[in-house]
């Protein structure tokens, strides 16, 4: 009778294969960690390089501003300011000699002028004169009042002198454009 062996026998069992996605997922996640570290190193380096570049650019801008040819810009600004100031002052410049044309036009030959004062800033003129009579003085005032350059005339003091003449003090305010230079 044939013997039947009851010895346990080792039958290798085929190893159960792990699913593909398990290993792939693990490698991918390791790769992610490495990629994050590499990305950090790369951006660290890029930032450092960019920082140096920016500092150099800032230095270049500063040196461009203090470049030796920049005094010309300062001179240019100085001239611009001077031209602006000059233009303003010239705009305010008055033709004070025009006051004599005004006097020659408005003062009657019968009036003797004793004192005269003209202020070109306030446009006020003060005149002390003597007329042969009241009628002459009145005419003088009317002539001044009718002048297109006069805005206001005020007779401040009238006296009869010992020589039977009439002395007076007159204050007139001229219009603001009275001293303007004629426009070409």
């Amino acid at each position: 009778m044939a013997e039947i062996s009851l010895k346990p026998s080792f039958i290798p069992k085929a190893k159960e294969k792990e699913p593909f996605w398990n290993n792939f997922g693990a490698y991918l996640s390791i790769f992610l960690v490495i990629a994050s570290v590499i990305a950090y190193v790369v951006f660290y380096q890029l930032s450092a390089t960019q920082n140096i570049k920016n500092r150099e650019l800032s230095k270049k801008i500063e040196s461009a501003k203090i470049d030796e040819k920049n005094w010309k810009e300062k001179e240019l600004i100085k001239y611009k300011n001077k031209i602006d100031a000059f233009a303003y002052l010239l705009g305010q410049h008055k033709k004070a000699s025009g006051i004599f044309t005004f006097l020659e036009r408005t003062v009657m030959p019968e009036i003797v002028m004793q004192n005269f004062e003209a202020n070109t800033e306030s446009n006020v003129i003060i005149m002390n004169g003597v007329g042969k009579d009241y009628y002459t003085v009145a005419q003088q005032i009317l002539i001044m009042k009718k002048d297109p350059q006069v805005s206001n005339v005020r007779l401040e003091d009238v006296n009869l002198t010992g020589e039977k003449k009439v002395s007076f003090k007159l204050t007139a305010t001229l219009k603001p454009d009275a001293y303007n230079f004629p426009k070409k």
Binding site: V33, N54, L57, E73, A85, L89
Partner: protein, 188 residues
């Protein structure tokens, strides 16, 4: 691979942490630096262009308007040398045929208050103007005094006549006393 799920979880957490805490701020920092770099490059270009233009305008101004600039410099100098100013008035009085009896050059007032509305820049410039009061007593004929005023208001220096006064004599063809108050300017 043993315990791949655990590895996956740990690695994902680790990479998330590294990215969030280290990499992402670095990316943002780099982006900000790069933008700043672009701005700086543009600034540098504009600065160079600006100064090149300024140089060009300055040279053109010197080449084409030198005479006009010299006239403006004379009319509105940077500084007034008082003896030279006195001499200027005296020579004008002589040219007009007037005798300069006395003259007073007062202390300058700094800054001009504009009468009309001007731009803030112009107002700033006007603050730098010094106005020198110059009062002169002269003797001469009426016609000479008229000529004196004419010469003063058209002088190379910018002279504003602020007040004119005279006392007339009863007699004809005699000299009279005339007073003229003026202002002349400098710009610092």
């Amino acid at each position: 691979m043993k315990q791949p799920i655990l590895i996956i979880i740990v690695c994902i957490l680790a990479s998330g942490f590294i990215f969030k805490v280290f990499t992402w701020p670095k990316i943002q920092e780099f982006e900000a630096l790069r933008k700043n770099g672009t701005v700086l490059e543009r600034n540098l270009k504009e600065t160079r262009e600006h100064f090149n233009k300024a140089e060009q305008y300055y040279e053109e101004l010197q080449r084409n308007n030198k005479a006009a600039l010299e006239k403006i410099d004379e009319a509105l100098p940077n500084e007034i040398f008082v003896p030279e100013l006195g001499n200027h008035y005296q020579s004008i009085a002589n040219s007009a045929g007037m005798v300069l009896d006395s003259m007073n050059i007062g202390k300058p007032t700094v800054g001009i208050i504009p009468k009309d509305s001007v731009s803030p820049t112009a107002a700033d410039i006007l603050k730098s103007i010094s106005a020198y009061p110059v009062n002169a007593q002269t003797t001469g004929y009426y016609s000479s005094f008229k000529h004196l005023l004419f010469l003063l208001e058209r002088s190379g220096k910018l002279i504003d006549i602020t007040k004119v006064s005279f006392t007339a004599s009863d007699k004809q063809n005699v000299t009279n006393k005339f007073t003229v108050e003026t202002k002349t300017y400098s710009l610092k």
